[in-house]
Amino acid sequence: MNAGRWVRAAVSFTATVALLGAAVPAAAQTSSVVAAPSAGDGRLSVAAAEGVRGVSVTPALMETVVNPRAVSLHFVVANNEPFAIDVNVTLQQLQQSLDGTLDYRDNVPGLIAEPATLSLASGAHAPVRVHGALPAGTPAMYAGLLVEPHRARLASHIAGGIQVRTRVASVLLLTTAGRHARGLQVQDVTLTPTDGERTFRVSAVLRNVGAVHERPQGTVTLSEPGGPVLGVAQLRGGVLLPGAARRLDGGTWTAAPATERVVADTAITDPATHDTRSIRVPTWSDDAARGPWALRPNGGLPMLGGQDYGAGGFGGGGVGGGVPWLVWLALALLLAMTAALTEYARRTRRPHRTSTGPHPAC
């Protein structure tokens, strides 16, 4: 091989390397470190953040869809005190009152929290696991994971004794996959006098008649009977647990001096269909100038059950109900196309006979 060929070979080789080097992106080594709050092996000690004390459980809110036959949730309990501490860990069902306050009562069927006790050094973290299986047919489970430090107990001989316990809770909003009955019901709309002259606080009580928790959204439009709109209140509230009723705040509204009666159109977003349904609730007041004005549907409270779309409630979305009209249209089109194709295939399979003479075999 002469020198020229050697030169050509070398040049070709380096050119190939150049092309390859341009085509292949520079290899960048990456490593990702994900620090999930649920991770923790009990041996990791993190210096307490400045100013942060006490015992905490993370995450403080667990809202997720679970496999009802194999629930497994992970939390981390941290001791941010400058001393070691023992804590108790329990799991209790959530209850909700009219003002949204959560209460913790009763054991949670099918689920347990482990370990039940923890000994944490100052600055230490430890994992806690909630696991088990929900009772068959349970659409959702709402519970609190309660972490309570052991504290000194009151000496029993002290007269007039009040013992104090403190705990932190992580709230569990667990639902199972699938369609569940969903419904909200307006129970009343109230205008409560405030300190201001003819200024009222607007609120509405909604009840969750479905099987899973909701975050109600809606408005209250106040109008003169047969007259103009006087004001629109935006209802604000958080989570509403199934079976619970909660008063949602709509802010304040000031009535004009001449206003004696109002009607309230309460528009709530249907959780099943996301449509907005409006329920008109007329009102009266024994003393128009004093109030509070309690607006209730004529004929008494609206029907319970979540399927009444008339007198103040609505709902739906259960199994077999609430199928969007688009689905029916699509099914109809599909059937029509199938029929047309079948007919076409039939016609093209057998050629059309035009001869009317005797059969050749006759």
Binding site: A3, G4, V7, A10, V11, S12, F13, T14, A15, V17, A18, L19, G21, A28, Q29, T30, S32, V33, V34, A36, P37, G51, V52, R53, G54, V55, S56, T58, P59, A60, A78, N80, Q96, S97, G100, T101, L102, D103, G144, L146, A152, R153, A155, S156, I158, A159, G160, G161, I162, Q163, V164, R165, T166, R167, V168, A169, S170, V171, G238, V239
Partner: protein
């Protein structure tokens, strides 16, 4: 015999330049390496300062009896609530190891007095066995309230030693 000279044509020159460029590129320091770090911040609520573990009303007199219940401080990175609940509807007779029949007529009241940060604290006129909201906050500031317990004693209340247990619970707001 003379060696044949190598004729470098235009195309060969281009290839030579490309090759030398590739060699130079390979000789340069490697591209900067990057490390991606990700983290997840979960909601967290803690009682950073707990109220007094035990409160003694002493020998109560007729009328209102007040006692300091300490300070309750909350550290959170999300909206939170603190509730209070008692294990009895009212302070109940206590024999040293168990409750006995007989309770004071008036339920215990819990009154937040001073506060720091931006909590919304509400007095609880009648502490009972249903949880009631004591304070709420946004979690933006570290909040604390100073608490006072008030027990009204009536002449019809029988003598004896009375006891109750108050539980404060901090949780994220729903």
């Amino acid at each position: 015999m003379t060696r044949p000279r190598v004729a470098v044509t235009g195309s060969r020159l281009a290839l030579l330049v490309a090759g030398l460029t590739a060699v130079a590129a390979l000789a340069l320091p490697a591209a900067a390496q990057t490390t991606t770090v990700t983290g997840l911040v979960g909601t967290s609520v803690s009682i950073s300062t707990a109220p007094s573990t035990a409160v003694s009303l002493g020998t109560m007199a007729l009328g209102a009896n007040l006692a300091s219940a300490g300070t309750l401080a909350v550290a959170a990175n999300a909206a939170y609530t603190v509730t209070a609940v008692a294990d009895q509807a009212a302070m109940t007779k206590w024999d040293g190891s168990a409750y006995q029949s007989g309770a004071l007529t008036t339920p215990l009241a819990l009154v937040p007095t001073l506060s720091t940060g931006a909590p919304v604290a509400s007095p609880i006129a009648a502490l009972g066995t249903t949880a009631q909201t004591l304070m709420t906050g946004t979690g933006i500031t570290s909040d604390s309230v100073t608490l006072q317990l008030q027990q009204t004693l009536l002449s019809s209340d029988p003598t004896g030693t009375y006891r109750t247990v108050i539980t404060y619970t901090a949780a994220p707001a729903l």
